[in-house]
Amino acid sequence: MATHQRGRLPAGAQLSGALALGRRGLLGAAGALAAGGGGLTPARAQAPTIRLGVLTDMSGPYRDPTGPGSVACTQQAAAEMANRGFAVEVIQADHQNKPDVGANIARQWYDQGVDAIVDVPTSSVALAINGIAREKNKVFLNSGAASSDLTGSACSPNTVHFTYDTYMLAKGTGAALARSGGDTWFFITADYAFGHALQRDTSRFVEAAGGKVLGAARYPFPATTDFSAFLVQAQSSRAKVLGLANAGTDTSTCIKQAREFGLTRNMKIAGLLMSFMEVHSLGLPTAQGLLMTEPFYWDLNDRTRAFAERVRPRMPGQAMPAQVQAGCYGVSLHYLKAVADMGAAQAKADGRAAVARMKAMPTDDDAFGQGRVREDGRKIHPSYLFEVKAPGESRGPWDYLKIVATTPAEEAFRPMAEGGCSLVRS
């Protein structure tokens, strides 16, 4: 590569494991740069180095369910795959939920030695990076974005879509509510790719169950913190279900403000993308009874409990890992297994080949159990419908959810033929 900037870390990158940078500390930045940059680490490793770049939301509405926790889980995967004949380096950056910021960081990272980008919540950013990874034949391991278009119209041979997508969420929560009497819906939708996709996929299930969508209010993302105008609109539509096509703090704020405006008296609330982090911030009294669909919960079985205990020391505030963060672990682990299988030099040179190897090998990790990556890049695993426990039912901190239903892997996700992905040979 002709244009290597000598001895300099790519902009927006930090060495993890060194000082945790985040938003604190000019000193921290100086320390990290001194430790890792300035031309002091030439190619001393005889073995090739696989670089994973965790690009996530460090300061916005998705910080708690992804953010530093995603970095921690990726580091966990890297630690578990040490001593396989190659070194693994994990760096991180904040895309601030902006497609142009994310695209610039991704482009620079890929041009300067990063092999795979991990996480990327926020579908608009993910779609941009999806394109760049394909253009540069690198690897995109997405855990946080939800838009089902990543394995549909925008599918790519360089991308693996882990954790969840809008189809899985819609089929889980949306269909369940529609079947149990929620036949009229009003959506409050984050006005970008994710919100649109989630609303679209959920509406399909609602209508398939005989219900009707009475209307939707789209709000600017991530700028909105007061949802009262939209909640008033929802209330006057007289729908039975309020569908929240948003995530993170947007969801928790909507739920809180819905209570304030008395929506909860006549409407059921469907948090279409909720993780137990939102339950944590709402508190059980407010959140009890809410339904949510997740493919991972720390208390699901012995393997997930073991994984949660292993990774907790690395997590910010010793929190339990949430689904997206566990997804970063699962996808990074599988990628590194593929790299070990085909040889690091080969994996670095050809992203498409690495992803193809990931699709050829079945997956098995403590967080998600056994599964596989389909031709269209979609990783499939079972999805679970949870209900939030009442305060009396909870046996301790982080014990928030009880399982209501399980959907097996092959049924949980959109059938390959329906996605419109060009990689799928019908």
């Binding site: 300061s59 916005g60 007061d226 105008a229 008033v232 304030e260």
Partner: protein, 294 residues
């Protein structure tokens, strides 16, 4: 529940209330801006950031000292107002002899600094601030559900604006202020300490913004962007109302809030731009603003 013009009553009154609440914030902020501009001839671009500081100070008072909402209403304007006085003495006062555009640029820079520091410390998603228990709950009126706290915001803002207007128009201090706006050297010659008055005026305008911030904290959840989202609309309000007019700022603020709310009912897509469109129309018809003096 009846329907008005085919619009269900809860929607109409709900949006009307929300419009009044927005209008309350527009009025309080544009009042502070108008006061500062009248005397200092500076467009205080930092006004939004100081509004945000008011909310954060309220949050910090609760988080670190356990002092609740009512304390915050009292203390936060003082604290942020004092900070404003500091800003004026250290930075803004150096620019009085220069082109007014420099004041705009300086306060813009100050806004960036304040917002950046808070974003660094607290991230950019909102911090929750609970509605004080005395004001929580809602009145279940027949035609709508009225959250008590939001009604309180409108009432309090009205009182604050009225009080400010009274001070400026009816008291001796206000008379000095208005005189200094017209002819500062003459007022100085009469023995009034004009620079000190200027400093205190800036502090008072800032305190008013901070008061708005405390009012806003339970509604908008405390986040570093809350001021910048608001301030540009407030500028449009001030241009429409007329830069020097106190009454104009208040009336226009509330009025435009209502207009915005009504637009959300009938034509939601336009609600974000309607105030700017009105600004263009007013500028073409009456360049000095609705209440301003050319």
């Amino acid at each position: 529940m009846e329907d008005f013009f085919g619009i269900p009553a809860p929607l109409l009154f709900g949006q009307l209330l929300l419009g009044l609440i927005n209008g309350a914030f527009y009025a309080m902020l544009s009042l502070g801006l108008a006061v500062i501009f009248g005397l200092l001839n500076i467009v205080n671009m930092a006004h939004g950031a100081l509004f945000m500081m008011g909310a954060f100070v309220a949050w910090l008072l609760l988080d670190k000292l356990g002092l609740g909402y009512w304390w915050a209403l009292l203390l936060s304007p003082f604290i942020v107002g004092a900070f404003g006085v500091l800003l004026e003495k250290l930075f803004i006062s150096r620019l009085y002899k220069l082109d007014h555009l420099y004041g705009l640029l300086l306060t813009f820079g100050l806004a960036l600094v304040i917002e950046g520091v808070f974003r660094n410390e607290f991230g950019s998603s909102g911090l929750p601030y609970r509605i004080p228990p005395e004001l929580s709950g809602s009145w279940d009126l027949e035609f709508m559900f009225l959250p008590i706290y939001r009604a309180w915001v409108v009432a309090f803002a009205l009182v604050a604006c009225l009080a400010t207007w009274l001070v400026i128009e009816k008291t001796r201090l206000g008379a000095y202020l208005r005189a200094a706006t017209e002819n500062a050297p003459l007022v100085q010659a009469f023995g009034v300490n004009v620079p000190r008055m200027v400093t205190l005026t800036y502090g008072a305008g800032v305190a008013l913004a901070a008061l708005g911030g405390v009012l806003a904290a339970p509604i908008y959840s405390v986040n570093p962007q809350m001021g910048s989202n608001l301030i540009i609309v407030v500028f449009a309000v001030v241009v429409i109302g007329g830069m020097g007019s106190i009454l104009g700022a208040v009336l226009t603020g509330f009025g435009l809030g209502i207009v915005e709310g009504m637009t959300k009912v009938f034509y939601p897509e336009a609600s974000a731009t309607v105030i700017f469109v009105i600004m263009v129309i007013v500028l073409l018809a009456r360049p000095a603003g609705l209440f301003g003096r050319a």
